[in-house]
């Protein structure tokens, strides 16, 4: 029973409109299309939701207001008052990743967050931005973040490298968390889908597993967007408050 499985074909990038500027390949790919779609859906949700300014909101306005309140509440809880300046950035980040993940759940849709370069770009922006914010606010005192309070000197020699390592690993863990969740989820869906036809009469078993997995993947799509946003808030809190 030879099973022809190609679960990783779904991640290939197809150039739909080849564009070459200088030596750089800036083609419009399927990934670019879904990024544009995610942005369009996010803008549509908020712009169409804010059309009416009813005091008691209807459904669309409710959704737009709830999404704003969710992020604003998250920032207030985790960063405090100074975090309000960064609300547009974190809202954009959350919406982009959320709709990127969710659009990938549409059958034959492409999940652009399942590519490490996309998630690493976002994580690098967050990390570099948060570090610059910390250095701009505190100057050299920012380095006191790596030296915990009230620690004897002997332990400091061990502790400071560990603190530095755990700080500089943040962009990588942010990126890999989102990338691995998305890639592993979609790969599992494709593998079980491949089993459905290969198992003949018992094909309904992997089909049932696939249905359950789709529920799990929808949960993971929303959850990973939330985790990316809340970790950004926590890193921002570290940079602003230094503890």
């Amino acid at each position: 029973m030879a099973i022809e499985l190609h679960p990783l074909e779904q991640f290939t990038i197809e150039r739909w409109i080849p564009i070459h500027i200088g030596g750089v390949d800036a083609s419009f790919t399927n990934s670019a299309l879904f990024m544009c779609a995610a942005v369009a859906v996010a803008i549509g949700l908020v712009v169409l939701g804010a059309r009416r300014r009813d005091l008691v909101p209807g459904r669309w306005q409710s959704v737009a207001e709830m999404s704003y309140e969710f992020i604003a509440g998250m920032i207030d809880d985790n960063v405090g008052n100074e975090g309000r300046d960064y609300l547009p950035f974190i809202f954009t980040l959350f919406m982009f990743i959320l709709f990127g993940n969710l659009l990938g759940m549409i059958p034959y849709g492409f999940t652009f967050t399942s590519h490490i370069i996309v998630t690493f770009a976002m994580a690098a922006v967050v990390f570099i931005g948060v570090t610059i914010i910390g250095i701009a606010r505190h100057g050299f005192h920012f380095l006191s973040f790596f030296v915990p309070h009230g620690v004897p000197l002997v332990l400091l020699l061990l502790l400071v490298p560990i603190e530095l390592l755990s700080y500089f690993i943040r962009p990588f863990t942010l990126a890999i968390r989102l990338f691995a969740n998305m890639m592993a989820g979609h790969t599992m869906l494709a593998i079980f889908a491949g089993f459905v036809t290969a198992m003949g009469i018992f094909g309904f078993v992997p089909l049932g597993v696939d249905v359950l997995l789709i529920f799990l993947e929808l949960l993971v799509a929303v959850l990973q967007a939330y985790v990316f946003a809340i970790l950004t808030c926590l890193y921002l809190r570290d940079a602003i408050h230094l503890h």
Binding site: I176, R177, F179, A180, N181, A184, Q224, Y226, V227, I230
Partner: protein, 73 residues
């Protein structure tokens, strides 16, 4: 040993890390159930989901190493 065979074995071994993810996720939700059983009005569910995502992430780092071994080297 051929490189392809070694890659398969390496990727399979790297997936053992997912056992830790299973234990971690079980611990997080056991704590959630305990907390809600003692005090149903406690608002700890967002923390439970955050903890679940972070625990799962560690297991998926192991899976990422498996993918790395299989497809990059």
């Amino acid at each position: 040993m051929e490189l392809a065979a070694a890659k398969m074995i390496g990727a399979g071994l790297a997936c053992i890390a997912l056992a830790g993810a299973g234990v971690g996720i079980g611990t997080v939700f056991a704590a959630l159930i305990n907390a809600l059983a003692r005090n149903p009005a406690a608002q700890v569910t967002p923390f439970a989901f955050l903890g679940f995502a972070l625990a799962e992430a560690t297991g998926l780092f192991g899976l990422a190493v498996a993918f790395l071994i299989l497809f990059v080297f």
